[in-house]
């Protein structure tokens, strides 16, 4: 078995194990198998309700959002050929959150539910597009543009919080921005699923083009790969995946940065070979983090986005440490 196949096999097992644990974990002591079978047979038991309406949506969203975050990080890093690319670091998640908060704040989402994911998608999409337009100049410009976008979305989010009339609403928004799956519902799954799945399919389709791009844009083009096509696939795929995730779970950062970085030594440096392991790793990381926040550590439940950021920041520092002194 090759190292790549072994990595994928181990990660798949890990994701499955964590998914089962995620269904089993919770304050109500119910049998998972009993609950699942009740649910599938349409028996309205307490176990079926808890599994079907609380734990299953939470597990599915943690798995899918984690996977698409890992995947979009790997695809973005391949596209811009920079190990610091990540939807959070580049301000894409922040702009998605800004879009979501705006419809939240104006009350549009209360009238028309799809407005929330659509606004998050638009925010994430515009940010990615802007990055691509601005970053024809290379790595340094990309990181600066990402920092600018991140600061802009943070400033506008702060402005929104500032203008929110009631302190309770501003607390709600703040809490949501920290990222959480604790209130994930079946409706959230329905809202996020299409974007997450279509986005992932688009991102997975870029593998060979990303491989070709490692040789530079010109060579990729002479080998029959259009830079424009792969850019659009990554932009739309990232916007769909990150926007949908942000819409239901708020801001969850650093998964896309951490996973490709941790898995590169195992899966190899070929961008196409990094997509699937990064998706699996992202799913495992978010499932594990979501299990961790459910542990009764401090009384208050930790927010999911806070945990992923605490895991991700050291990896970010480690990357910066590795890249120090290199010419940009």
């Amino acid at each position: 078995m090759s190292r790549y196949a072994l990595t994928v096999a181990i990660l798949t097992t890990l994701v499955l194990a964590l998914a089962i644990l995620s269904l089993a974990a919770g304050p109500a002591g119910i049998g998972v198998t009993q609950g699942l079978s009740d649910m599938l047979h349409g028996r309205a038991t307490i176990a079926a309700t808890i599994i079907g309406q609380i734990r299953l949506p939470r597990m599915i969203l943690a798995l899918l959002i984690g996977a698409t975050l890992g995947l979009s990080g790997a695809a973005l890093q391949g596209l811009v050929r920079n190990p610091l690319a990540d939807p959070g670091v580049l301000g894409i998640s922040g702009c998605g959150a800004l879009g979501a908060v705006l419809v939240f704040y104006t009350g549009v989402s209360a009238v028309w539910a799809p407005a929330l994911p659509l606004a998050a998608l638009s925010g994430a999409g515009l940010a990615t597009l802007l990055l691509l337009v601005l970053t024809r100049g290379g790595t340094l410009v990309l990181v600066l543009a990402g920092a600018a976008l991140g600061s802009m979305s943070a400033a506008l989010l702060a402005l929104t919080l500032n203008l929110v009339p009631s302190p309770y609403a501003s607390y709600e928004i703040m809490h949501w921005l920290m990222g959480s799956l604790s209130r994930a519902s079946q409706q959230d799954v329905l809202i996020a699923m299409p974007g997450l799945l279509i986005g992932s399919a688009l991102l997975f389709s870029t593998g060979r083009s990303l491989d070709a791009l490692t040789l530079g844009e010109d060579v990729a083009q002479t080998m029959g790969f259009s830079l424009r096509v792969v850019q659009w696939r990554v932009v739309i795929g990232t916007a769909l995946a990150v926007g949908s995730g942000v819409a239901v779970a708020g801001g969850i950062g650093f998964v896309g940065l951490v996973m490709p970085h941790l898995l590169r030594p195992l899966a190899g440096a070929r961008p196409s070979r990094l997509l699937l392991p990064s998706a699996l790793g992202g799913a495992a990381l978010l499932l594990a983090a979501d299990l961790f926040v459910r542990l009764p550590v401090s009384g208050a439940e930790l927010q999911l986005g806070v945990v992923t950021s605490l895991i991700g920041t050291p990896v970010f520092f480690w990357q910066v440490w590795r890249l120090r002194g290199r010419p940009v």
Binding site: L215, D218, V219, Q221, T222, M223, G224, F225
Partner: protein, 256 residues
Amino acid sequence: MILQTDTISLTLQGNRLLNDIALEVRPGEVLGLIGPNGAGKSTLLRVMAGLLRPDTGCVFLDGRDLFTMPPEERGRHLAYLPQEAPASIGMSVRDVVALGRLPHRRTASAQQDAAAVRQALDAVGMSAFADRSSARLSGGERARILLARALAVQAPVMLADEPVAALDPAQALTVMNLFGQYAAQGQAVAVVLHDLALAARFCTRIAVLSEGCLVGIGTPAEVLTDALFAEVYGVAVRRCGEVAVPWSLVASTRRP
């Protein structure tokens, strides 16, 4: 396969870069593209590779318009080796060379791909490095694996932009020999060169560009004359045997 440019012209941002250039690269030959800096050599090569569309004129590959050919098919017919190496690749040497097989992903078997990669690695003498990370190679070694990537395409037309610019004489000879062998197998090769001694030694024909115009084309003996050196490069040469050595600047109104 024969690659022809039919009186192509190109203006970018108000600068006339190429002016009515008509030439062809024939199977079995190494065509050298020479000329001073800024003469349009690399631009011409990029047009020939399908990377830049000319304003007027066409590029034909065996009589078919290069710019209407399906990109994947074009990728199998043309191998392009740019001047700048990508910053960092990080993959194993074998994986880098195997990227050259991407245009064949729907037409070749895994065995054919593996054989082409092995052959290309052998040709550049890097077989022993196949499993090493390409991030840990010297400049010359990197240049050779990128050349091996282009060879692995096994395209009937090879276009290389200053492939020996950063190489020592031994490496440069190795690379130019490879192009010679490639052409000897019936493939068409066009190479942008600055080293006129290498051009004289390895090219079947030489095309001279100056300020976007084709000012001469023919065998090295026909083209590399004292008059050409004075006119195009603004230098007077001394002959050491067959080699012309640039010796002094000539007073010229054309070049500052």
